[in-house]
Subunit: 235 residues, 2 copies
């Protein structure tokens, strides 16, 4: 069944330009958070309290290299379950997600799990009510980098073209980051206009990504191990 499109609530971290998403269906109390950021755990709990929502799941799109997740802390404080891509080494997550899985919450809400490797080998995108949460795979008019953490430009190109651009044109695209003040896009627009991925062959995209020569993320060596433990201290 095609459910009516429902916008998530989009929250922003100005330090790492990370979007966190709060998903809840109209009139329902069950909620899901995607990619919550450690330093905003109180903000995120405040939103749940004010909106009278109960957290069912915390989802990670991948093991982030630029910020630390609050998934572990939120799980302890709310009793929600953590869900993460099986290929990201996030061992303590209760749900180890594979391509094609369905996460059910609330009355009849379903989140579809789509494996979209490229930024990292394990990266997942999530489908819910006419929206796709693309993590660092597909950004608005751009894409995530592919030069560390088992990244692969060829895999990212394939994920974008054969997993994401095949979704209906009107599907809303909610990325994990934006660095230019933009908030949301659609599959139709990105398929036709994305500056890196549209109108380019896989080989040309691989060459483009190889030439970017980006600096190593400042938090790489701290954030990835921390996020593989849901942001909790290794004990």
């Amino acid at each position: 069944m095609q459910m009516k499109q429902v916008n998530p609530i989009q929250l922003f971290d100005t330090e790492s330009s990370t979007f966190t998403y709060l998903l809840a269906a109209p009139g329902q109390r069950a909620a899901v958070l995607i990619d919550p950021v450690e330093r905003h755990w109180e903000r995120d709990l405040a939103h749940l309290a004010r909106l009278n929502l109960t957290l069912a799941y915390i989802l990670e799109t991948h093991a982030h290299a630029d910020h630390v997740t609050s998934a572990g802390r939120l799980r302890e404080l709310t009793g929600a379950k953590a869900a993460a891509p099986s290929g990201c080494g996030i061992a303590p997550a209760e749900l180890q997600l594979a391509d094609g899985d369905i996460i059910r919450f609330g009355e009849d809400e379903q989140i579809g799990v789509v494996h979209t490797p490229g930024h990292t080998a394990g990266s997942m995108s999530y489908l819910w009510r006419g929206n796709v949460f693309t993590g660092d795979t597909l950004l608005i008019d751009g894409c995530g980098r592919t030069d560390f953490q088992s990244g692969s430009a060829a895999a990212l190109f394939d994920s974008a073209h054969n997993k994401l651009f095949v979704l209906p044109d009107e599907t809303r695209v909610w990325p994990a980051h934006d660095y230019h003040g933009q908030s949301v896009s659609t599959i139709g627009w990105e398929k036709r206009h994305n500056a890196r991925l549209a109108n380019r062959t896989s080989a040309a995209f691989v060459a483009l990504m190889a030439g970017l020569d980006l600096p190593k993320p400042k938090l790489l060596d701290i954030a990835v191990p921390a996020n593989q433990n849901l942001g909790l201290p290794h004990g």
Copy 2:
């Protein structure tokens, strides 16, 4: 008829901490912008283009003192109509709104107009699909100042308690500003917990507001006349 709750798309201006809202019903192309900010007119047009939306109306909650609107420019570029509270001196707006008016757009979308004076004498709040856009009248855990532009603390208290807090508890509150990283609240939460307005008499609130002794807004003498002309140069 009670329509299903639909979240707006919330956009943010980091300079003035102003929220702009993009309203569109699921599956429909007609859209409305509330309180767009001059320096983001290209961002806002980009969102309309990417989401394949057509702008029907630009709404102002009041004549802002802290930023300049892009309503006039967006009207010229899109053919949308501008709508503003009749008591705010925004003469070039096609629709001069009064309490109880209904703005219709799209297939069967209705925006209710509620006069909520206090921050300014003309300030309006807007109701749409289980949401209230409260301008500077009601903020998350706070409220707008009442010490200039025909502001009145007694009027704001009355607007909050007798126009806004009477809405259903689950109504989502989307303010014109937030200075603490919060995004959305509900009537039920604000009615019970708002630090200024809950559990306080009108007289105590008036005394509280009188004691704030806030500095004059930097842009007051520039922004208000500009906004009364929809952000366009006076010619």
